[in-house]
Symmetry: C2
Subunit: 402 residues, 2 copies
């Protein structure tokens, strides 16, 4: 028996291959700072566990496939505070943002259809596309100009009769990019002109720096029938371990079809849903505190990266990642070496190789993603380790350096 | 924009269309017994909530995509008590049995490949197949002989070059069928002879009556590389609202591929996983008690159905459903009428129309599925309601009766 071609086309996250090496390093007493994944160290707001710790259902039963009404209502109220008007019928609760994406891909694409998105991209989009026989097509954006969207004509040139949707990640992972009003309007106009869905993955919505306003295609009434919002509580409330996401659209035909997918998997975790209600009721104060903390971390990392010779990056406007070009040729080799052969005062760092974030794995060879998910002190130390690591690597492998 | 052909091919569970009517009936003060879904009223064992109520993680973080090690180990220990020897590397935790099935379909089938199974079947298999572009092919089994498997040659005749797997549900939903040793060996031999996967969905494993032994293709060493076990805690521990399932196989090549699908959706609910550990540690005493209760319910329903003129059914050997032929032509009409136009002493019942459980919706028109998930007293009353309902329906719609 064989496995399917579609699963064979899927990739494993590149960063996972380092974990056995990390375990070895830790066993030898080396301290490793994990800057490779978007797992924040911010405390999950107490309301979640307070709700969960007092659940007393005698029979833990199935909930409605669309999600419990309290959570759907809390989500609508949350969107209303952003100026968006959705009814409970416009949204389904999903097993994290991941399931919202998976169901969207299945629901709008036949095998062989295309979804168009900017590169670098969230690597899991590639695996979702492979699993569902969708062709993900990319247009490039670059660190040097803050991952600005190319001209509309460049994106338009990539649209084919098989294109079913434009997909944007705002704020971006791994880029930290936040779409400007002009860029959003490019996407909105293209979707309408070419009769495409516009999917906006906004799981990092609250992580926008420098007092930027909330801007989203969700705000364009003329786009309503084209628009699909992908959402998740994971990053926003530091609740990655609760698998709660949302798929939101005012397109009734689409939602009536997507309902069949949520029915297919019966239900989302009852307990996670109950816990999530309290999170969605949190007001702006919570986000203000979180944002202040991340702003501080971003500044620490940016200041440190500026001081390392040969590192190219702009300060991200959103999310909690830096995409940085390093003065090396193969980031994956450097990352492995940091774990296996290097330490600075007994410590080292784990970074993400950026080639995972491109459709062509040859791209991004000299780039890494740095997640600033640790507290300021640890981020400072991590950057110190990185600086010394780059210097030592240059001595050890001059031919691997630029 | 259109939705995809694959999602359009999916169906909505037929029973859902009755819920608005049920709400109306309830508003008018009618009491409705829900015999339509497999939602047991048995209390979830206290260990689950006891664990959940004392979780004190400050950061609710992602867990390993494969599942937390404590739960995977507890599952291995549970299987060992059944005489099955699996390592933690042989199983992944999934978002319910549903996700285990979905990932199996994606992992072993290309678009257009076939999976062969007995009809009547668990209706959600149809939706999974449509969502993943798999062709589900059926061979018929019949209420009259307890849904016995047809001769091997009949099944074999349905195998084509596109067939990738045989799928069996043991015990069966909606049939209550429990495979005999001979029937299991037919499946095992066919899988080996034709080099197919054999998927065994055993989520009702503990619900077998009349002191039958545990029999499964899992017990055949020669099948190990072909065998995929689908499991779930939902029914076994009356924990449907905790979304915890398992996909189990000793085929390393397959598991290495399936790992990419569990990585794609990052994680299963942390809290549900922690709660589930305690359930998998429960010993046989818990199941003995549950089985005693269901045996009693089964007897009540069987005795009552025997007394209703024109009803044809055999006593199910497993799970908690009766598939019964009624002396009527269109079960869906009868079911709707019971809700909208009938009551017996202010009460009525909601049943499942059986055409959902066939690939061709014309099949099973005169059959219903009765879930005996309520306590004995309620089951007794429900059967009384059904008996009077059939008599009244015969008077009201003689042309709709046989």
């Amino acid at each position: 028996m064989k496995t399917s071609q579609r699963i064979q086309k899927m990739g494993e996250p590149a960063l996972l291959k380092y974990y056995p090496l990390v375990s070895e390093a830790q066993k030898k007493g080396k301290k490793v700072y994990f800057l490779n994944i978007g797992q924040p160290d911010i405390k999950t707001p107490a309301g979640f566990l307070d709700s969960v710790n007092c659940i007393d259902q005698e029979v833990l039963s199935y909930q409605a496939p669309e999600g419990i009404i309290e959570l759907r209502q809390a989500a609508c109220d949350y969107y209303r505070r952003l100026g968006l008007h959705y009814d409970v019928g416009d949204l389904f609760v999903t097993n994290g943002g991941s399931e919202a994406l998976l169901f969207t891909f299945i629901g709008i694409c036949n095998a062989g259809d295309e979804i168009l998105t900017a590169e670098p991209l969230y690597s899991i989009y590639k695996e979702m596309a492979a699993a569902t026989d969708v062709n993900l097509v990319g247009f490039k954006t670059y660190a040097e100009d803050g991952f600005a969207l190319p001209a509309a004509a460049v994106i338009e040139a990539a649209i084919t009769p098989r294109t079913k949707a434009l997909l944007m990640t705002n704020p971006g992972n791994p880029t930290g990019k936040v779409f400007s009003r002009e860029e959003i309007e490019v996407m909105v106009k293209l979707a309408i002109k070419h009769n495409l869905y516009l999917i906006s993955d906004e799981v990092y919505r609250e992580f926008v720096y420098d007092s930027q306003d909330y801007l989203s295609p969700a705000q364009y009434d003329e786009l309503a029938q084209h628009f699909i919002l992908i959402d998740s509580i994971s990053k926003r409330y530091s609740a990655c371990g609760a698998r709660i996401g949302f798929i939101v659209s005012k397109n009734k035909t689409l939602m009536n079809q997507l309902k069949k997918l949520v029915q297919m998997r019966l239900s989302v975790s009852t307990i996670d849903q109950i816990g999530a209600v309290s999170l969605l009721k949190l007001d702006g104060d919570f986000f203000d505190g979180v944002l202040k903390e991340y702003t501080c971390r971003r500044e620490i990392v940016y200041a440190a990266l500026q001081e390392i010779p040969g590192v190219i990056c702009k300060e991200p406007r959103g999310a909690f990642y830096f995409m940085a070009k390093l003065p090396i040729k193969e980031a994956s080799h450097f990352i492995e070496w940091l774990i296996t052969d290097f330490d600075y005062q007994g410590e080292t760092v784990l970074l993400s190789p950026a080639n995972d974030f491109y459709l062509n794995p040859q791209d991004g060879a000299d780039e890494v993603r740095i997640a600033y998910v640790l507290n300021g002190e640890d981020m400072k130390k991590s950057m110190e380790v990185l600086k010394h690591g780059l210097a030592a690597y240059e001595k050890a492998f001059p031919e691997q350096c630029k």
